[in-house]
């Protein structure tokens, strides 16, 4: 009985150890990949391995422009939701006119970057992982290597550049649409006009609030790309493997976004 329990404990510890080692290994791989991607973006042109501008624009279209409808709908909805809850809560103190302060700061610092990050992780992080995974199992990555084309430079670098440019831009758009969504509800409920709502919002907001959100979205852009590429590049075992790693990419990048957001909110707000 005693030896049985001991065996169980030692097996648990072994499993924990293995998982930890694998986690550290993957983290190291991600860091190296980020470094290599940045390297090719920076010096590729002088090493006769330039990052193709066309590929960057193609990715920007896919990651940024095509995400505008869904980001807009979600932003407007979350904005209205914030206004509903905010007014309802503040009404208990008879302070519903103060709702604008909470909305303005909450949206620019937290909600817009987070919504945009999650949408892009779901749309483009998964697409990136699936595309790289499929290319890996079809030997297309090997084909690039033997042609003397660095896969990181050809596949990861345009995605990273596009993501880093488009995610803050989308976040800025989401800022505006979320505030509009909130404003429309406030106007309807409190009977002020939209002009007054936006005047008050701009009074409350400082540039720092916007930058707080945009800086986070920049970090989310890097997280979504690297997590997508790492998972796509680690695909083994056919179509099933592609599906598994695509799901993993989305789950990991959304988790990483939420956790990073909390840590940064703590560090930057206090």
């Amino acid at each position: 009985m005693g030896s049985h329990a001991l065996g169980l404990v030692s097996r648990l510890v072994e499993r924990l150890g293995r998982t930890t080692v694998r986690g550290v290994e993957e983290f190291g791989f991600a860091a190296a990949l980020l470094g290599e991607t940045a390297y090719w973006i920076g010096v590729g042109r002088w090493r006769r391995q330039p990052v193709r501008i066309g590929a960057v624009f193609e990715q920007m279209m896919e990651i940024g422009i095509r995400a505008i409808p869904v980001v807009s709908i979600l932003s407007a909805t979350v904005g209205a939701m914030l206004a509903i809850q905010g007014i309802d809560t503040l009404r208990t103190f008879g302070a519903e006119s103060q709702v604008v302060i909470g909305i303005a700061i909450g949206v620019t610092r937290e909600f817009a970057p987070m919504i945009t990050g999650i949408v892009v992780a779901g749309r483009s992080g998964s697409a990136l992982a699936a595309r790289l995974g499929t290319m890996k199992i079809n030997q297309e990555i090997d084909a690039l290597t033997v042609m003397g084309i660095k896969p990181v430079r050809y596949l990861a670098a345009p995605a990273l550049l596009a993501m880093v440019l488009m995610l803050p831009a989308l976040t800025f758009w989401a800022d505006a649409v979320t505030l509009l969504g909130a404003g429309l509800y406030v106007v309807a409920d409190l009977g002020i006009n939209l002009r007054a709502f936006f005047d008050q919002t701009l009074d409350v907001l400082v540039v720092g609030d916007l930058l707080h959100g945009l800086a986070k979205s920049l970090l989310f852009a890097i997280i979504v790309t690297i997590v997508g590429v790492v998972n796509g590049a680690s695909v083994t075992g056919g179509a099933e493997g592609v599906g598994r790693m695509t799901t993993r990419a989305v789950v990991h990048s959304i988790s990483a976004i939420v956790i990073t957001d909390m840590v940064l909110a703590f560090l930057l707000t206090r």
Binding site: Q139, A143, G148, I149
Partner: protein, 271 residues
């Protein structure tokens, strides 16, 4: 049969010495020695699990060896800088087993990709060179199709066109006739012979197809369980008396001798 390894050009283009490789803790290749002469068609033949695909990946420089050296066109590949490796890669073409065409590009874009990445040619020149290579492989007029619109044999042909677009000295083919019907497979074999005769390439073919190997090979290297059993001409391999080679040629599965104690330990999970 055509004459074996050309006597008038004995220059060695690939030289593998004492190559040992592992996948994790498992040894895949054991003491491989192989030299390939210019303008010959060398077939690396073996069953699945023999290590032939691994050997190919090492010749292509996309896998790290445990020990031993590989010299390609006189350069030892493990010592090359990134820029030197790039120069060497431009002299090597690879036709992968499944074609490995980029599914988001047309056939023409696939074939011209090495030109676009490694040369400063204008679009018109690249288009002409792409059509030229499509003519060579018998796919003229297909440049605007997507890879998903091609049949199995056409995908292999397009992969050959992409592999030879920079006029490489070395052409590697991974299972060129696998998964094709006999007529199409035989046409691919003819294509390989034509590429060697017409363009003067050295061609390394990895395959498990006996018929194809005997048809195209100047020399055959027989690989089994990570070891080279024999390197020789088609006749020499056909007439070999080595039991493992005979089993391979007769499609005979080799039973491993079983030690009863070992067998029991395996079954009880104590091994």
């Amino acid at each position: 049969m055509r004459p074996a390894a050309k006597a008038d050009s004995p220059e060695t283009v690939i030289e593998v010495t004492d190559l040992v490789t592992h996948y994790g803790p498992r040894q895949i290749l054991n003491q491989i020695n192989l030299s390939i002469a210019e303008r010959e068609i060398m077939v690396i033949m073996g069953g699945s699990g023999s290590g032939k695909s691994t050997l190919l990946r090492h010749l292509l420089g996309i896998e790290q060896a445990t020990s031993g050296t590989i010299r390609v066109l006189g350069r030892e590949i493990s010592t090359l800088s990134a820029a030197e490796m790039l120069e060497l890669r431009k002299k090597m073409g690879v036709a992968f087993q499944g074609g490995a065409l980029f599914s988001s590009m047309t056939v023409g874009e696939n074939i011209s990709l090495p030109l676009r990445e490694h040369t400063k040619l204008g679009q018109v020149t690249m288009d002409i060179m792409t059509r030229l290579k499509l003519e060579v492989v018998g796919l003229a007029g297909f440049e605007n199709l997507m890879p998903s619109e091609l049949s199995g044999g056409m995908i292999k042909r397009a992969a050959f066109a992409r592999a030879i677009v920079l006029d490489p000295k070395l052409l590697f083919c991974d299972e060129p006739s696998a998964g094709l019907d006999p007529v199409v497979a035989s046409a691919i074999d003819d294509l390989i012979l034509r590429l060697r005769d017409g363009l003067g390439m050295t061609i390394i073919v990895v395959t498990h197809e006996l018929d194809s190997a005997f048809k195209i090979a100047d020399r055959i290297a027989v690989l089994d369980k990570g070891e080279i059993l024999k390197v020789g001409t088609v006749e020499e391999v056909r007439n070999s008396t080595n039991e493992r080679i005979r089993n391979l040629l007769n499609r005979h599965f080799e039973d491993e001798p079983v030690d009863p104690d070992e067998y029991l330990r395996r079954l009880t999970g104590e091994a």
